[in-house]
Amino acid sequence: MARRVAIVGTGQTDHRSHRPDVNGREMIYEAVKRALDDCQLSIHDIDAIIIGNMDHFESINYVDTWSVEGSGAVMKPIMKVTTGGTTGASVAIAAYYHVASGFFDKVLAIGWEKNSESDTTAAIITCSDPVWDRAFYSGAIPSLATEASAYMKQYGATQEDAARVAVRDRTNALSNPHAHLRKPITIEDVMASPMLAYPIKLLDVCPRTDGAAAVVFAADGVAQKIAPKPAWIRACAARHTYSWFGDVDYNAGLLSLQRASKEAYQRAGIREPADEIDVAELYLPYSYAGLKWIEDLGFCGPGEGPGFIRDGHTDMGGKIPVNPSGGVISTNCIGATALLRVAEAAMQVMGKAGQRQVPDVEVALATGFGGCFWSDVLILGKARP
């Protein structure tokens, strides 16, 4: 039987578009140091490490080996886990499995990216099939834009509906000292920003960020001694639907998120997610995802996303605040991005989210979204499961 596991500490860098003052391993170190300080552990207390980032991004392979002076993995078990955009959530889930298995009591999960060291779009294109997809594929933006075009056709959602999501996340980022983009924007700003790939405009989509995140997982019995109020893992689930780009069913919604969240809710005993979850840190790489994917998560019914957002249900103080951190639209160090969702959700449960704290969080949801319409879901809670 799996052991109960809790998050006891989190750390993240101060995210920027370009960190020429540090190399990858030094940037990883900054997040690791902050995570260890957060739970007052030393690297010697850590039994194993899981690390991940985007394949091919910095054109340096084997991060598990070359980063050890920053990750602290010298003479420790370390594994690299990389699953595209979901990497950060996948390292969290892998760290959870390590502790739950009983083999390790304290495991450190690390995600990082230095987007400034390559061209993000060119690097993402290398994930596409070279025979069938690569000639016309142009990175993450158009594959999301096509999804948006199908959603708008299906439900009549507008560009202004989507802009509201970007404004919400960017407004929330003003309360997060670590966030990359911390300048307020309006719906008019979004509408007036350059059209990158119809219907996605510059302010609809996530930036490219240099940054790292680290999270410490500990076993039941150990966790309570490290943190007075740890964030317990209530459930996690991963679903990968893609095999070819053309296998995505645009009219069915984000199937992987529907299935992963359904399984996670079931395990955590959640029936009405919007009522029973107190805060959500969602991997929304572009504004339209904030309309469509909350339907896939069951916050509201199909086609109801735009109204749910317009009514303020996902704002701070709303029924289910989404992305108090500012989310992916404000900060996107890709290999760290989904781990930041987990870290921010844990901070909300632990009452350590500072100015962006949602009051009285009992249950928090974190998601990861990956390259080919993949989804990871984690549910964290204050109560020991």
């Binding site: 070279p130 025979v131 016309f136 096509t146 075009s149 070819w244 780009f245």
Partner: protein, 159 residues
């Protein structure tokens, strides 16, 4: 490709040597390109378990985990399921050069198939493109074809 050295206080190192790769297209994929060259028509393949028709043809159905072998000739016609007009510049990792923009990325359902065929639509005015429109494939001349996806020049909106 020499770039001018930026000798600021903080230095970076640039790698700019091309690296060649060679990718196998496989039996069914090769057949797809041969059929386009010989007969200017699409080939799909049906899964014996779920009945789904895939284009281009592939050896395996992922959900069923079954091997496929029932090839099907398909028309050069389809409809737009989703699209985007790409406006932003980026280096193409296949060539190292910037890919010409704007161009329209189209998710096209070929008649008689059950998945989506991704290609380019020959129209970049958003006002003239809509989800649901019918399109037809336009092929290169036989002598220009090279057995790759660009043997299909683009899809043209009908009517």
């Amino acid at each position: 490709m020499a770039t001018e050295r930026d000798y600021g206080e903080l230095l970076t190192l640039t790698f700019s040597t091309p690296m060649p790769y060679e990718w196998s297209i496989g039996k069914y994929g090769s057949l797809f390109f041969h059929e386009i060259r010989e007969s200017q028509r699409f080939t799909g393949i049906r899964c014996p378990q779920c009945g789904k028709v895939y284009v281009p043809p592939r050896r395996l159905c992922a959900p069923c985990f079954k091997e496929l072998d029932e090839l099907i000739i398909l028309p050069n016609l389809g409809s737009i399921m989703a699209f985007s007009v790409v406006n932003y510049p980026f280096p193409d990792p296949a060539t190292g050069e910037q890919r010409p923009i704007p161009y329209t990325y189209g998710c096209i359902k070929i008649e008689g198939s059950d998945n989506i065929f991704n290609h380019v639509i020959d129209e970049t005015n958003v006002e003239k493109i809509a989800v649901g429109m019918k399109v037809a494939a336009v092929f290169k001349g036989k002598e220009e074809m090279q057995g790759n996806i660009q043997d299909i020049r683009h899809f043209r909106i009908l009517g």
